[in-house]
């Protein structure tokens, strides 16, 4: 992360990451079928990637080893 980011921008980014982590990783689960298909990837990382791909959805793709991995996201 850029250490020289302005305080307002930094605070906004922290708030967005906290939002993403809450909505994707917390809250009650009813069916037990929710899978955010990025197994073994830290959700904070996922939150950051969602920030970077704020236009396109993050769609996991199967790599050659058969495990889901996030696609490369475009920088804003």
């Amino acid at each position: 992360m850029d250490k020289q980011v302005s305080p307002v921008h930094g605070e906004r980014r922290v708030a967005l990451v906290e939002l993403v982590n809450r909505v994707l990783d917390r809250g009650v689960v009813v069916s037990g079928e929710i899978t955010i298909s990025v197994a073994e990837v830290d959700l904070l990382y996922l939150g950051v990637r969602l920030l970077l791909s704020s236009i396109d959805p993050v769609v996991p793709e199967r790599g050659s080893a058969g495990r889901a991995s996030p696609v490369d996201a475009r920088a804003p």
């Binding site: 994707l24 009650v28 929710i34 993050v58």
Partner: protein, 227 residues
């Protein structure tokens, strides 16, 4: 037939405002299930996680929070038809009813405490200057740096504990933070009536400790306390 997407559960009879839309722009409606009401919308398929979807989901739950404390549902709760979803909710109505009751009248705040960015930058800079040393020295420095970081983590956790003591009974419950960009992060469950006093107490602590970064985010719907 359209599938059904679930946002949150609220006390019985609290309906979404007319015209409220959620994921994919679908209109949100309320369905009564035993002692609570489920806020749902039509959805042909389980939505993929995206920033827009996250914002749309949270937007609905946040509207619910304006009137009552909802039990937030995790993103992605979807069933092929509303009957299936309602049946799942009925099967576990006691669990959900108990969870709703436990959260009644409360809000979530996110609290993050960290040493200042300048202090972190200075420490990282000093370590960076030593990287040109030989391999053995580098490994020693790496070990020292890890020890310093463990000490920093302990220091930040102690600061959070100190703040928690100041907040006292205003904190009904505490959970690990929902993803911190560094620092020590916790989620606090606070009664609505205590929200202003909570914020004032944190502000006072921040003023007394200018060397620290103290951030409060919220109020949130109580995602961190939903299970």
């Amino acid at each position: 037939m359209s599938g059904c997407y679930l946002y949150c559960l609220v006390p019985l009879g609290h309906l979404p405002p007319a015209g409220l839309t959620g994921v994919g722009g679908a209109e949100v409606r309320g369905c009564d299930v035993g002692s609570f009401t489920a806020w749902t919308s039509d959805a042909d398929a389980r939505p993929e996680p995206s920033l827009d979807g996250v914002r749309e989901h949270h937007g609905v739950v946040q509207v619910a929070l304006e009137e009552v404390t909802p039990l937030p549902v995790r993103f992605g709760e979807w069933a092929a038809d509303s009957g299936q979803l309602l049946e799942r909710l009925r099967r576990e109505r006691e669990r959900f009813g108990t969870a709703l009751d436990a959260l009644a009248g409360a809000l979530e705040f996110g609290l993050r405490v960290d040493v200042s960015a300048e202090e972190t930058h200075e420490a990282n800079g000093a370590f960076g200057e030593e990287l040109s040393a030989d391999g053995r020295a580098y490994l020693r420095q790496l070990g020292r740096r890890r020890k310093e970081r463990r000490a920093q983590v302990a220091e930040r956790e102690a600061l959070v504990a100190e703040l928690r003591d100041l907040l006292g009974a205003m904190v009904r419950d505490e959970r690990p933070g929902a993803g911190s960009a560094g620092g020590a992060s916790v989620a606090h469950l606070v009664a609505r009536d205590d929200a202003e006093a909570y914020a004032r107490t944190v502000d006072r602590f921040r003023g007394e400790r200018p060397e620290l970064v103290v951030e409060v985010l919220g109020p949130w719907p109580p995602y961190s306390f939903a299970s």
